[in-house]
């Protein structure tokens, strides 16, 4: 039975606390579009995406209206394009990126993710060509996202790929220097990438997934913060309970929207991703939740502990609210996309090292961090290697999305606008890691991989 308090609570969450569905993401397999003629393959890719996703945006809008809940993005994830590129040797894979962009424009979606390669144990046909084409692909398209998986707990870390990705991230920033270095903001380097992630820039449709499915990513840091604000004197375990209850409600909404979208589109329901995804909007910050718990500013001592508790409580609350939980599921800490993180970074309280520690206890990794324009590719690679090592040893997903701010130095600000926000250039260590990175090879899989 509905009661007045519950109704008003829901309306307040949506109206005042920025509760929203961050994304409905349709995963589409492109395995049946493989062709040795790249132009034919691109045509099949375009046709398949448009055929499956033409109603995604209208259905999303209809659900928004019916339930009165904003759905911020409608997105598509596809099979890693390197697998399609493998069939077309000596061809420029950027043609696929252009075909994806055309499909994105036709369907009216915000992003298509999956300009990706999985090279955690080594490069197979198509992988190298695709990775090398990433800077161009992200330069000539607007709504295409790219990711590369360079390590996993089972296989270790492919250090040749780590070295290459340092160069690719830098090249991508250089090619888009006239547009606030937007290129690398659409590129994620993963360890233990998941196959059903609805969130960009790291979404792709794994080969173990069905032909087509619908995933939902929920949001709601503002709701959690306001719930905690009502209990200024509660103990930590009481706070954990409040977060669990709030996460349950948020996730139920995601489950409802996902189930409805799946029914309307005639596509199986994949997963709900239980993530707390911030936006630069005031009142939609993960950093402010941590500050509500009692930190003067995010990044100070105690931040990792607060984040660990938050991340765990979100999962515990959400897992019962959804029939299938998946994706990344945890709290996100993208610096430029979170008003509280931006403030803490500008104040010098939140450092790269603290962020690295935080990634050990939450999803996902060093995300949307602006680094000085003169950073070397080897230093980028070394940061990627550090982060991948945390993921590999802890059997969790970690990712790196660094933006070298070409022409800018520590303390200056890079502005992206929209959901990507703005970020101060953060200091990095001066000493070189070049010799380590240039060794190449592979970091062997850790003992944790031997579970059988």
């Amino acid at each position: 039975m509905l009661n007045v308090y519950d109704i008003l609570e829901t309306i307040r969450m949506i109206q005042d606390e920025c509760l929203d569905i961050r994304t409905i993401t349709m995963g589409i397999s492109l395995l049946d579009c493989i062709d040795t003629d790249i132009d034919k393959a691109c045509e099949k890719v375009y046709n398949k995406i448009v055929d499956h996703a033409k109603n995604l945006v209208p259905v999303g809008q209809q659900i928004e209206k019916e339930y009165g809940i904003p759905i911020i993005n409608k997105r598509i994830s596809v099979t890693p394009i390197a697998m399609l590129a493998a069939a077309c040797p000596n061809q420029n894979p950027v043609k696929f990126a252009k075909a994806l962009q055309k499909a994105a424009d036709t369907c009216g979606v915000n992003f298509i993710g999956g300009y990706s390669a999985l090279v955690h144990k080594g490069f197979s046909a198509g992988d190298m060509a695709l990775i090398q084409s990433i800077p161009e692909a992200l330069d000539v398209t607007q709504n295409i996202c790219s990711s590369v998986n360079i390590g996993s707990t089972k296989s270790g870390i492919n250090m040749d790929a780590v070295k290459l990705m340092g160069q690719i991230v830098r090249q991508s920033a250089e090619r888009t220097a006239d547009r606030d270095c937007i290129g690398p903001a659409k590129l994620v380097v993963f360890c233990n990438a998941v196959e059903d992630n609805p969130f960009m820039a790291g979404a792709f449709h794994g080969v173990g997934e069905p032909d087509c499915e619908i995933h939902v990513g929920v949001s709601g840091p503002g709701v959690v913060r306001s719930a905690l604000a009502k209990y200024p004197d509660a103990s930590i375990n009481e706070l954990a309970d409040i977060i669990k209850k709030t996460a349950f409600k948020i996730t139920r909404m995601g489950q409802l929207v996902g189930a409805r979208a799946s029914k309307e589109l005639g596509v199986p329901f994949g997963i709900v991703d239980l993530s707390l995804a911030p936006t630069p909007a005031i009142g939609d910050s993960v950093a402010h939740i941590l500050e509500e718990m009692g930190l003067e500013m995010c990044g100070t001592h105690g931040t990792t502990a607060c984040l660990a508790m938050l991340n765990d409580a979100v999962k515990k609350g959400g897992v019962m609210a959804s029939s299938t939980v998946g994706g990344l599921s945890g709290a996100f800490i993208p610096v430029s996309e979170d008003a509280g993180m931006i403030d803490a970074a500008v104040a010098g309280v939140l450092s790269l090292e603290k962020l690295e520690a935080m990634t050990a206890v939450c999803s996902v990794g060093l995300d949307m961090i602006v680094v000085p324009g003169d950073i070397t590719p080897e230093t980028i690679s070394a940061i990627i290697a550090d982060e991948a090592a945390i993921g590999m040893v802890n059997s969790k997903t970690t990712a790196v999305r660094l933006i070298p701010a070409i022409g800018k130095k520590e303390g200056e600000i890079l502005e992206f606008g929209g959901l990507l926000g703005s970020g101060p250039v953060m200091p990095i260590r001066e000493k070189s890691s070049a010799k380590f990175i240039n060794r190449g090879g592979r970091i062997p899989a850790p003992m944790q991989s031997l579970k059988n």
């Binding site: 509905l2 109704i7 489950q255």
Partner: protein, 89 residues
């Protein structure tokens, strides 16, 4: 199928009349109304049956939105499923 219409804002003459008038126009039967006026603030929650509506639910939502703008009130029209799923197991 039911929907919940909530109206919050400054009290005025004829709010209930105008909201229920729109419901009648779309053949949405009003099942329950709770209303309170605290000082100058008007708050009403209305449960309506939308299973026999004469038009799309989206049209009703738009009409209510426009009425809210016209009267300077905050009017939300939402399918009951969202409240049921968020607040009950």
């Amino acid at each position: 199928m039911k929907a919940v219409v909530t109206v919050i804002g400054k009290d005025n003459v004829g709010i209930l009349h105008k909201v229920s008038g729109i419901c009648m126009e779309y053949n949405a039967n009003v099942l329950e109304v709770t209303q309170s006026v605290l000082q100058d603030m008007f708050a009403m929650i209305m449960l309506v049956d939308i299973s026999a509506m004469s038009a799309d639910f989206a049209q009703l939502v738009d009409r209510m939105d426009n009425l809210g703008k016209e009267l300077g009130l905050s009017i939300h029209t939402m399918h009951e499923d969202i409240f049921n799923s968020m607040h009950s197991i």
